[in-house]
Symmetry: C2
Subunit: 379 residues, 2 copies
C-alpha cells in the first residue's frame, strides 16, 4: 500500500483522529453535582464576576481552535469545510502530541471574510488562542489582521507565520554554514501567497534587505498595476533596484532561492546562474520546485524541501506547537514578529554545528517545543 | 466545604473538565505522514468526492456540539458566553461518561437569533448533531426550529425536549401507580419558558388533553392579548374551558402539578384543593416550588423534584445521552416528537414496578442510555 492508501485505512479504522476525554469521573450523584448542576453554578458565578477565572477554572487556558474555511487545503486547493476536517484534526493531533495543547478543529462553511471574522469573534470566549489554517490568500491577510486587532487572545495564521519562522531558522543556519551575513545575502522568494509574503515580511524585519519576491506574473515591483494591497506593500519593501521580468532574469547572482509556489519552476540553468554555492529552499508541496539531487548536481550547496524523505525538511511542526505553548503559558495576547524572530533564533540554535544536511533540528527532538515556547513572551 | 466550594476546588485543580486526546500515535515521521501531510490529502480528496465519508473517516460521526449563548445558564440567568463555559463543559462530560459521545462545548458571544443561527450553520459540517443548551425563551424556539429546517443533522434544545421526555416518562409511571389513564388526568404546568412549553407540547402529542399552562402573568388562554407566537399556539391546544386567573384558582380538582418556573409558588392549600392523591413535580431549580416533605404532609402522593437529595429526581441526564447516542448510531437527521415519546416510554419501562418513591430509573443504571437510544430511529 502506498502512503495514501495507508492513510485512508488508518482514518477509517480510527473513525477520525481525536476524542474528547473527561478529566473528572462521574461515578455517582455526588460527582454529578460537582461537575454539573448544582455545583458548577459556583464556577459560572465566579467567571461572571471575574472573567480571568475562565483561564483557571475551565479548559480555556489550554485550548485553542484550529480554524479553516477549507479554501486552501494543503496543496489541494479549495475543497470546502467538510474536506478540511481530516487536515484540521491532524493539526490538532500535532498540537496535542508535540505541545500538550487541547486543540479543537473548526471547519467553517463560509468563505466570506466578514462572516469568518464575525464567526470567530463569536467563538473566541472558548479559547486561549486561534490558529488559522489553510485559508486562501489574500483573504487570509485581512482575516488575521482584523482578528488580531479585535480579539484579546493570540491569533496566528500558521501557513504564514509558522512557515516564516521555520524558514528564517533554516536560513540563519544555512548562512552560518556559508559564513555570509544577512546584510550580504541576496534572496529570491518565488511565490506571493500566504507563505511567500509572510516569509518576505519576517526576513525584512530580521534585517535582510536584498530581497526580490515573484508571483505568478513575475517580479513584484513598485508601479506594477496589478498588485493587491498586500503585494503593493511588499513591493515598497523589496526589490530596491526595481527589477522587472521573470525568475530566470532575477535569480542571477543571488545566494538564496526560497520557493513557496507550485510547479517545477526551478531549472539547472537558473541554479548555475546564481552565486557560488547557493542555498535552495524548494518548498512546493508535494513536488518541490526542483528535486534535491538535480539541484545538488547543478551546484546547490544546501537544499531544503517540505518533504520528510530528504534532509532539511522545512516543517511547520517545528514552530506552531511551541509558539502556542508559549502564548498560552506566558499569557501573551499578541504573537509579534519580534517573538517569531526570537523563536527562529532559538530553533536555529538547537543545531550546535549546522551542516549542509542538517540546518534544522529533528521535529521529534523534545527540546524544540521548549526552545520555541520560550520566545513567545512579552519582554 | 459546601458543594459550591467543593465544585470551585475541583474546577481549579483540574483546570477545566475536558481534554482532547489523539487516537493516533505520532512517534516518528511515518506516523506524521499518515495522520497529517501528505497522507491526509487522500482523506480530504475522498470526502470532497463523497461527503458521506466524513462520517466514516473523521470524528464527525461521533461528535456533537453543545452550544449556548449564555442567556439562561442553569437557574442563574443571563451571564453571557464566558460564564457558560463550565456548564457546557459539564454537559460534554456527561455526554462522554454516559454515552461515549465526543461533545464539544461552544459558548457564543452573541445573543442575536439570526447571528446564532448563521454561526451554527457555518459550524455544522464538523458535527453529527447539535445540542442547544441554556438559551433563553422565546429565542430558543425560533433558533431550534430554523436549524431543524435548515440543517441536515439532528438539532435538539435539551432544556426543552430532554426535559419533556423525562417528565413524560415520570408521568407515565406516576399515573400507572395511581391507576388513572392519560385521558382522565388533569394537569397543570406552571411555567411557560423553554421547558414548560415543550412539556405541554409533548404531553399533548402523547394524548393528554386536559392541560392548563400558566406563565408569570397567570393562565394562558385564547384571546389573552400579551402572548407571543409560541404561547398563542399553546393557548389553542390547551385549556379547553378557557379558564382564566391564577394558579390558586385553576389547580383546584386537578391530578398533576408540573412546576418549571421559579419561586416557592406552590402552597399547602393549593395541594389540598387538588384531587385526591395528587402528583407533584416541583422542578424549579435549585429551590423546588414546594419542599417534598411539605407537599407530602399536604397529601401529595408522588413528589418529584430536580434535586438529587430527594427521591424521584427528574434529571435530563436520563434522556440526552441516549437521545444523541441513538441519533448518531441510527443516523437520523431529525429527532421527532414520536421518537421522544418512545424514548419516554422506554425509560419508564425500565422501572418494572413503579412506586411513589421510584418512578424513574437511576441515571447510573447502564440500561438507561441503551433503552433511550433505541427509540431514536426512523421507523
Amino acid at each position: 500500500m502506498d502512503i495514501y492508501e495507508r492513510a485512508l485505512k488508518l482514518h477509517k479504522e480510527k473513525k477520525g483522529k481525536l476524542e474528547i476525554k473527561s478529566k473528572v469521573k462521574i461515578n455517582d450523584k455526588n460527582d454529578l453535582s460537582l461537575a454539573y448542576s448544582p455545583g458548577v453554578a459556583a464556577v459560572s458565578r465566579l467567571i461572571a464576576s471575574d472573567k480571568k477565572s475562565a483561564y483557571t477554572h475551565t479548559n480555556k487556558g489550554n485550548t485553542i481552535a484550529v480554524i479553516s474555511d477549507g479554501s486552501a487545503i494543503l496543496g489541494l486547493g479549495n475543497l470546502g469545510a467538510l474536506a478540511a476536517i481530516p487536515v484540521m484534526e491532524g493539526k490538532c493531533v500535532l498540537f496535542k502530541e508535540f505541545a500538550n495543547i487541547d486543540a479543537i478543529p473548526i471547519c467553517l462553511d463560509t468563505q466570506d471574510s466578514e462572516e469568518i471574522i464575525k464567526t470567530i469573534k463569536y467563538l473566541a470566549p472558548n479559547y486561549g488562542g486561534i490558529n488559522l489554517e489553510d485559508i486562501a490568500a489574500p483573504r487570509c491577510f485581512e482575516i488575521e489582521a482584523r482578528l488580531k486587532k479585535e480579539l484579546n487572545i493570540p491569533v496566528m495564521h500558521d501557513d504564514q507565520h509558522g512557515t516564516a519562522a521555520v524558514v528564517l531558522a533554516g536560513l540563519i543556519n544555512a548562512l552560518k554554514i556559508k559564513n555570509i551575513s544577512y546584510r550580504e545575502a541576496k534572496i529570491i522568494i518565488n511565490g506571493a501567497g500566504a507563505a511567500g509574503l509572510a516569509i518576505a515580511d519576517l526576513l525584512i524585519k530580521y534585517g535582510f534587505s536584498q530581497l526580490i519576491v515573484l508571483d505568478s506574473k513575475g517580479v513584484i515591483h513598485e508601479g506594477r498595476s496589478d498588485l493587491n494591497l498586500v503585494k503593493e506593500k511588499i513591493a515598497k519593501l523589496t526589490n530596491p533596484e526595481k527589477k522587472k521580468g521573470g525568475l530566470a532574469e532575477v535569480i542571477k547572482n543571488t545566494d538564496v532561492f526560497i520557493g513557496v509556489s507550485q510547479g517545477k519552476v526551478l531549472t539547472r540553468e537558473m541554479i548555475l546562474s546564481m552565486r557560488e554555492k547557493p542555498v535552495i529552499f524548494a518548498l512546493a508541496n508535494p513536488e518541490p520546485e526542483i528535486m534535491p539531487e538535480v539541484a545538488k548536481a547543478a551546484g546547490a550547496f544546501i537544499v531544503a524541501t517540505g518533504r520528510s524523505d530528504y534532509p532539511n525538511q522545512i516543517n511547520n511542526v517545528l514552530a506552531f506547537p511551541g509558539i502556542f505553548r508559549g502564548a498560552l503559558d506566558n499569557k501573551v495576547d499578541q504573537i509579534t514578529d519580534e517573538m517569531l524572530i526570537q523563536a527562529a533564533k532559538n530553533l536555529a540554535s538547537l543545531v550546535s554545528t549546522p551542516t549542509p544536511n542538517e540546518i534544522l533540528p529533528n521535529p521529534f527532538d523534545k527540546r524544540v517545543v521548549v526552545a520555541v515556547s520560550k520566545a513567545i513572551k512579552v519582554l
